[in-house]
Structures are given as structure tokens and as C-alpha cells.
Symmetry: C2
Subunit: 206 residues, 2 copies
DNA sequence: ACATGTGAACTGCTTCACAGCG
DNA sequence: CGCTGTGAAGCAGTTCACATGT
């Protein structure tokens, strides 16, 4: 099976959002053209993206909203609930711990960790902050699927190495640093300062 | 002038980070090979990216660390300070308001806004939350450059339209929704749930 | 008639390879 | 001789255009 582009997966997520929106408005059928308009892309793009996984549409008619949404959830792995842990109980970790957008989509926050004794044991948004030292033992019984890293840059690589050792295979990194992980671990880095620099560049070059 | 790829601009930001790291270690010269190794790319990629803006290297030698860093700062528009406002004083807005990674790079948080009377006037991390109703008047005298949107999805489009009206030409959006802006406005959307879905996809397809 | 699904064409980013210069 | 700068080649992602099914 040929590898699908990262950008295509992002678009699938988008399409799913739009389908849910259409579904809640009571629409039962949608064309690639309508999906494209909603997502600022082209109808060919939509059809190509979908055709990668099969043929879900009816010629002359379009796609069944419910059916396509279900298929996308399946493709994206959203039929099950994923257990997520947050490492780093600073402001950003705290914000993510209570972010409703995650649980809404089946990402369940299982625990929040930190290494700072002043934070361990504190309660934030319903979670008692646990010591990072308990992570390994916790994972042995609970086994979370995804780790969100919100520790300072200096600590990030050490934390990620530990996280990978406990068997976690997917990481979302908010530390402004490029992390080394084995090939079989998926990692997405969100570097907010870098995004701002992109805007700075855009402002400076017009 | 040919348009440069978005991915290339991201890499320039990365290179600058590495250069600063090298600089602090006292290195004065660096080759495209060494930069590439640090950034998980290739030396040709590095040279191509840089050659887009001129020739900064010395053949047989490499690049002057200080000179290249300065040139990148100039290219990225980081020689000046940018005024940033945050709209939405929820947990995420609050986390960003105090995030040191921004000020470190010359992005100065000028104000935090919200529309909730319960939040307006409250002090968070040194900022008194201002009413969104004062934004237009504030902008007339202060004129921020960049707006970070951390309001709920339902409010985001309305807020962005207002922000654009006040003359802001760069937006970083954390609301999980695709926003409409005029062509002359730069916008970067960070959709954290969508990033997690990318990880979910990766976990489901191995 | 309408909208999908898909090869083929195209566009643009990345990698290669080497001439050019220090 | 080493490393840059850059055309040319290669590759991946996007768009086109049309045959196909309903």
C-alpha cells in the first residue's frame, strides 16, 4: 500500500468535521464539490483523497453523509477511545488537560504528570498531578496510547525517551525543540514561536 | 520574486535556532552539512533554502554563524519587536500570555481581551483583561501587529472579522474552525484536536 | 444529466551532481 | 581540496479531463 501524504490525512480530519456539521443540519447526501467549497480545496482533491481508501460515493449523486463520516472515523482510528497522558503540569499542560475539544473526539485524558514536588499532588481540573517517577509503573497497568509533552525544552528529550520506553508510540510535543524518537513512534511537534515567526515573515514580505 | 514555500520558511526558523545554539557554544563557522544533520534534512536542502535569499557562505569554508543568524533574523522579520494581542482569556489564552518563548523572540504581548464580563478586569499574569469592545479604540492608538485567537469556535469568525477591520494583518488561530480572511491577511491555524487525529491515524495504520 | 473515480498532465518541492570559487 | 551555489533530474502532491456508472 502506497503511503498517504500527511497533508491528505489532515484534510480527511477536516472533511469529517464538515460532514458532522452537515449531518447536524440534517443533510443526508453531499457532493465532492460541496465538501471542497467548505474546505477551501477542489472537488478533485476531495475525490483523490477519498479514493485512496476506496470508493464510497454514488455516481451522479454524491456521498452519503452518514456513511462517509463513519468511514472517515474508521480510517482515522476514531472508533475507539484513546488514552492520553499529559506530561508537564505548567500552564499549557493545564490548559490542554481541561480542553473539551479532546474528550469530544474520543481522546480521554488519563493522567497528568510532573517532576516538580510543588506540583505533584496538586489537583488541576479534576486530575491529581502524579509524579513522573510513577509513570513506568502506571503504564504497566494502564497503558496510555498517546503522550502530550508540555515540559520545558531542556527536559523534553529525557521525558520523551522515558515515554517511549514505557511503550507509548504516539507523541504530541509542545516543547520548542526537535526530538529524537525511533522510527516506529509517531510524533507531531507544535512549535508556537515558530508559527509566529511564519507570521512575522509574512508581514515583512508584502 | 518567486514565492518561497511555506515549508522552507519553517526550516529557516529551525536553522536560526540551531545557529543560536552553535553561537552559544562558541562556534563561528558552520557548514550546510552540519546544519542539515542538526535539523534532520540534507545539505542541499539547506543550501537551496538559503540561496533563495542570496549567497551567504564561503566556498570551501561554510557559513559564518553570526552572519547567517543575523541574515536569517532579517529575512524572518525578527529584527524588530512585534506587538501581539491575545483574544480570549480562557485557559489557553492565559497559558500563551505567560509563555516565555514568545517574548524571548521579540513577540511582545500588548494586551489580552475577552467578552465575558466575569473575566474583564481580572488580572492574569500581569495583564488586566480588557473588554473586546475597547479593541477598536485601542488599536487606533496602539496598533498591534498580530492577533492570537483563543476564543470558542462559535465566536472565532466574528472576532476575526473585527480584528481584520482594525487593521491587523496576521492571525494565529487556536479555534478549531476554518476562518475566512481577506487575501492580504496571513493566518496560521493550530488545531490541536486535528493533530491528535493525525496521531490516531498513525497508530491505527501500522 | 450528473457526479464519481482515475489515469495523465502538471506544478512545485527535493535531491543530485558538478562547476566554481576560496 | 572542501564546501558552496545552482541547473537539471527526480519525485510527490495537485489539478485536469474524461470515461464510467446510476
Amino acid at each position: 500500500m502506497k503511503r498517504i501524504a500527511d497533508s491528505a490525512v489532515r484534510r480527511l480530519s477536516l472533511y469529517l468535521r464538515f460532514l458532522e456539521e452537515f449531518e447536524s443540519r440534517g443533510l443526508t447526501t453531499i457532493s465532492s464539490d460541496e465538501l471542497a467549497a467548505r474546505g477551501r480545496t477542489t472537488s478533485s482533491q476531495v475525490r483523490k483523497d477519498l479514493s485512496f481508501f476506496g470508493s464510497f460515493g454514488k455516481r451522479g449523486l454524491g456521498y452519503s453523509v452518514a456513511e462517509l463520516a463513519a468511514r472517515l472515523r474508521q480510517i482515522l482510528g476514531l472508533e475507539r477511545e484513546w488514552q492520553v497522558i499529559i506530561i508537564g503540569a505548567g500552564k499549557i499542560g493545564e490548559a490542554l488537560a481541561q480542553y473539551r475539544g479532546f474528550s469530544q473526539r474520543g481522546f480521554r485524558i488519563a493522567a497528568v504528570y510532573d517532576s516538580d514536588p510543588a506540583k505533584i499532588g496538586r489537583r488541576i481540573d479534576g486530575f491529581v498531578v502524579r509524579s513522573i517517577d510513577t509513570l513506568r509503573a502506571d503504564q504497566a497497568k494502564r497503558s496510555a496510547d498517546i503522550a502530550i509533552i508540555t515540559v520545558p525544552a531542556e527536559a523534553a528529550q529525557r521525558v520523551v525517551t522515558l515515554v517511549v520506553q514505557t511503550g507509548i508510540r504516539a507523541i504530541m510535543n509542545f516543547a520548542p525543540i526537535q526530538l529524537q524518537v525511533p522510527d516506529n513512534v509517531a510524533i507531531k511537534t507544535v512549535n508556537m514561536a515558530m508559527e509566529l515567526e511564519g507570521l512575522s515573515f509574512a508581514l515583512s514580505n508584502r
